[in-house]
């Protein structure tokens, strides 16, 4: 479904990003796979490239480092000179009750979850505007739509991602660039582990389908939004949460 397309996916070394990387590789995309720990994607990149006869190119940088972001896009320009798909997946979740939110927490969460998305998108759009095509997929969260106690900053950051997705889709639609977000519910990755198993079990009761989501189920949604199967879909927030009532 993605043969001939070039993608950049952030935060690929584990969780949802890793699953998206595998799904895109399986579907024939050339993927620039981002992680911040140098070398950590070398093996999987080689394995996926061979298995699916495509090119997976690790690009190591911290998404909060603007000059490193630029370096990645210069590499893409020199090697492929196009970008069809951007998945802004890298994210962090840090929780604190109101009254206990310090500046560092606010700064870290917004820097990673919001400002990096804007910075990376600004570079991606340079290619997509020229091509008059492209699909940008931001990984938001249902808490960015519904809110969640103890998650004022995280939910605000994901709410910002939803708002910027909608604005970007309106700004970039004239260039044939589609911008959508996926709002996952509770997905079985390291991100939710700090919550603790008791609270996770409690939260599962709010999921009508009665279970955690799998990273591959988010990757399936990303594949749909990345591919031409969704060619007339833009500005949408695709909720993938097993029908969670929060």
């Amino acid at each position: 479904m993605l043969s001939g397309k070039v993608a950049l996916v952030t935060g690929c070394n584990r969780g949802i990003g890793k699953s998206i990387l595998e799904k895109f590789a399986e579907n024939g995309a050339v993927v620039y796979a981002n992680a911040r720990s140098v070398g950590c994607l070398d093996d999987i990149a080689q394995e996926l490239s061979q298995k699916y006869s495509t090119k997976i190119i690790p690009v190591y940088f911290d998404v909060t480092n603007n000059s490193a972001i630029k370096g990645c896009f210069e590499k893409i320009r020199n090697e492929e000179n196009r970008l069809d798909i951007l998945v802004n997946n890298a994210g962090i979740m840090k929780d604190a009750l109101i009254g206990m939110i310090d500046q560092k927490l606010m700064h870290d969460v917004f820097n990673t979850n919001v400002y990096s998305v804007i910075n990376i998108t600004q570079y991606a759009v340079k290619f997509m505007r020229r091509q008059k095509s492209g699909s940008i997929i931001n990984i938001a969260s249902i808490v960015g739509m519904e809110g969640s106690p103890g998650q004022v900053i995280y939910s605000a950051s994901k709410g910002a991602v939803i708002a910027l997705t909608k604005s970007l889709s309106k700004e970039l639609g004239v260039y044939g660039i589609r911008v959508n977000a996926i709002a996952p519910g509770m997905i079985d990755t390291d991100l939710i582990k700090p919550i603790g198993s008791a609270r996770i079990d409690e939260n599962i009761k709010k999921v009508v389908m009665g279970r955690l989501g799998k990273p591959s189920e988010i990757a399936d949604a990303a594949l749909f939004l990345a591919s031409d199967m969704s060619s007339f879909i833009s500005g949408q927030i695709l909720v993938v949460d097993g029908n969670t009532i929060i």
Binding site: K70, Q122, Y123, R129, R130
Partner: protein, 79 residues
């Protein structure tokens, strides 16, 4: 093509104006050079010189003359 010719062409192509109009141009001095036109101009300049400009430079790119100064940072000399 010299760098000056490429630079002038980016303006004439982006704004559909003639060569004799470019040297006095400033941002928003003609209707075509609005914020949307600005992004087209930057794309044309980036393509012409194979560079990727920083956001701060894109914002500062306020005239034909100022652009020449900014491009020096990217080792593009317009003479």
């Amino acid at each position: 093509m010299t760098n000056l010719e490429k630079y002038v062409k980016a303006f004439t192509d982006s704004f559909e104006i003639s060569e004799d109009q470019v040297s006095a141009l400033e941002y928003q001095s003609i209707v075509q050079w609005d914020s949307v036109g600005h992004m087209s101009l930057i794309a044309a300049i980036e393509d012409a010189f194979g560079i990727m400009m920083d956001t701060d430079d894109i914002i500062d790119f306020s005239s034909f003359e100022k652009g020449k100064e900014i491009l020096k940072k990217y080792n593009v000399v317009i003479e």
